[in-house]
């Protein structure tokens, strides 16, 4: 029996191929280690990722700690105010201001003072303002769902709540869509405020009442418009968030 000495051993591959083998083993090790160290993605994040077509936005939406407090604060403020109005006064100014209150609460929860990673976040291709706009939209959509559920339990509260929630869902989704198209959250936010301002002023012009835009009759007549704005805005956002091939596919389908 002959034995091969190390010097005469032929591994059957060149030195370069051996190096490639090392690299691949290294990559396998990294892949395995990465999987072991990571925490599995939650179902909510997976759903958000496929809806938004962006794992980055999905992660930013569900995990950023600065969101949680602001979300609770905004929702609590809105619903407490709604309940107070429903039970003690008939002041219509609160429903007009409540969306702004919630928006400001969320906006102030994001920035150098509230987000410890703000400086790094500002250098990310995933825009920090886009994340904020997305969060605002999600807050309102969530509140709309909660408001709808409240309808079944306390009809009086739900009426007051829904008068401004449906418009805000539409307006915030519109702002998101504009921001995505223009690549500017400032323009998106401005578009939201402008459209809401036009609706409020137009309703006031017709009825001579500032609160007309959040009246029961206005909601009934404008509900289809709000739903249309929301659906179109959502469609545009999803369309713009997809890659070129998917956009062409969607354009062809439309």
């Amino acid at each position: 029996m002959t034995t091969q000495t190390p010097s005469s051993f032929d591994p059957g591959v060149t030195e370069e191929e051996m190096h490639t083998l090392d690299v691949n083993l290294d990559r396998v090790w990294l892949g395995v280690t990465g999987t072991l160290w990571s925490i599995s993605t939650s179902r909510i994040e997976r759903v958000a990722g496929s809806l938004l077509r962006s794992p980055a936005l999905a992660r930013a939406l569900v995990t950023t700690p600065s969101l949680i407090f602001s979300w609770i604060l905004a929702s609590a403020a809105v619903f407490i105010l709604g309940a107070v109005v429903a039970n003690f006064t008939a002041t219509p100014v609160v429903p007009l201001l409540a969306p702004a209150l919630a928006g400001v609460a969320v906006a102030f929860a994001y920035g150098a003072g509230a987000d410890p990673t703000y400086e790094i976040s500002r250098t990310m291709p995933t825009s920090a303002r886009m994340i904020l706009l997305l969060r605002v939209s999600v807050v309102f959509v969530t509140n709309a769902i909660l408001g709808s559920l409240a309808t079944a339990i306390v009809p009086g509260v739900a009426d007051v709540t829904m008068l401004w929630l449906l418009p805000m869902v539409a307006i915030s989704l519109l702002g998101l869509a504009v921001a995505v198209v223009t690549h500017s959250a400032t323009i998106g936010g401005g578009a939201s405020l402008a459209v809401w301002g036009v609706i409020v002023l137009a309703a006031q012009f017709r009825t001579d009442q500032l609160s007309a835009a959040v009246s029961q009759s206005a909601l009934q007549s404008l509900a289809p418009v709000y739903l249309l704005i929301a659906a179109l805005s959502l469609g545009v956002t999803l369309w713009m968030s997809g890659d070129g091939a998917k956009r062409r596919e969607l354009a062809g389908w439309l």
Partner: protein, 271 residues
């Protein structure tokens, strides 16, 4: 030319196109905070390699790095990064995908694990999701925090937090890496390892390091610039700076490069 970074040993990032343009090109960049002129007519061109920024507190190093990181928009002058114009939204997004940045004040989410934190920024940098886990594992390995990968950030020491900051900056294999005081809090052994990492990154990326530690510059940097009052008052390689301080006693400092640094500053302040 398409460079497949994954073909290099121990790298994970997805293939991407390199432009061949200088990593950084600045022309007459100025910025003021109120009456304080933080950047005063900076002209600078830098390609692949490690570029050290030295200077006293308030000299403008951090402001310059923030401008390069696209955080701060200078009031005057032009900046091109990786051959792209950051004033154009699409180009800025391309730059940011290729950027790594460690700010001087490094904030973190205390309840995130080290892995989660770096993964979060890898996703925000729009890395292909299939590459993210392995890239994060590699970044953690490179800063020597394998045994802390699942530890919550709030449990880490100052030096370890700094290493996490470095890991999040390099996780996307950046073509432009900006590190503001990266060695603060690192122990001597970690500083030696970090210099090795810097040299490795400088082989394929434009790396800017702001530091007070002249010896870090001497060992790890290919080029060095000294800033004073918002302007670059010296640019050369560390050997040039060392040569300036060759005569003991002039400029202060224990080593030749420290004396060279002192002489350059003294000369700039006389003008």
């Amino acid at each position: 030319m398409v460079v497949t970074t994954a073909s290099r040993p121990g790298t994970i990032a997805a293939p991407r196109e390199r432009t061949g343009a200088p990593g950084v090109l600045l022309r007459d960049v100025r910025h003021a905070f109120g009456r304080h002129q933080a950047l005063d007519g900076i002209d600078l061109s830098a390609g692949t390699g490690v570029f050290g920024l030295l200077g006293p507190n308030g000299a403008g190093k951090t402001t310059l790095l923030r401008a390069l990181a696209t955080v701060l928009k200078p009031s005057q002058g032009s900046i091109r990064l990786l051959g792209r114009d950051p004033r154009n939204n699409d180009e800025m997004r391309q730059i940011r995908r290729r950027l790594g940045y460690l700010p001087q004040q490094f904030g973190y989410y205390p309840n995130f694990t080290v892995f989660e934190f770096i993964e979060y920024f890898a996703l925000l940098k729009e890395m292909p999701p299939r590459h993210v886990k392995a890239a994060v594992a590699l970044a953690i390995k490179r800063v020597g925090l394998e045994d802390r990968a699942k530890t919550r950030m709030k449990s880490l020491s100052g030096g370890m937090l700094r290493r996490v900051g470095i890991a999040q900056a390099i996780v996307n294999e950046p073509e432009l890496l900006l590190l503001d005081e990266p060695t603060v809090g690192l122990d001597p052994e970690q500083r030696v390892l970090f210099r090795g990492l810097l040299r490795e990154m400088g082989e394929r990326a434009t790396v800017f390091v702001s530091t007070h530690l002249v010896e870090d510059v001497a060992i790890a940097c290919n080029e060095v610039a000294i800033m004073e009052a918002g302007a670059i008052v010296f640019r050369g390689n560390p050997v040039d700076l060392t040569d300036l301080g060759a005569v003991p006693g002039e400029g202060g400092g224990d080593s030749a490069i420290e004396r060279g640094y002192g002489l350059v500053l003294a000369s700039a302040r006389k003008r």
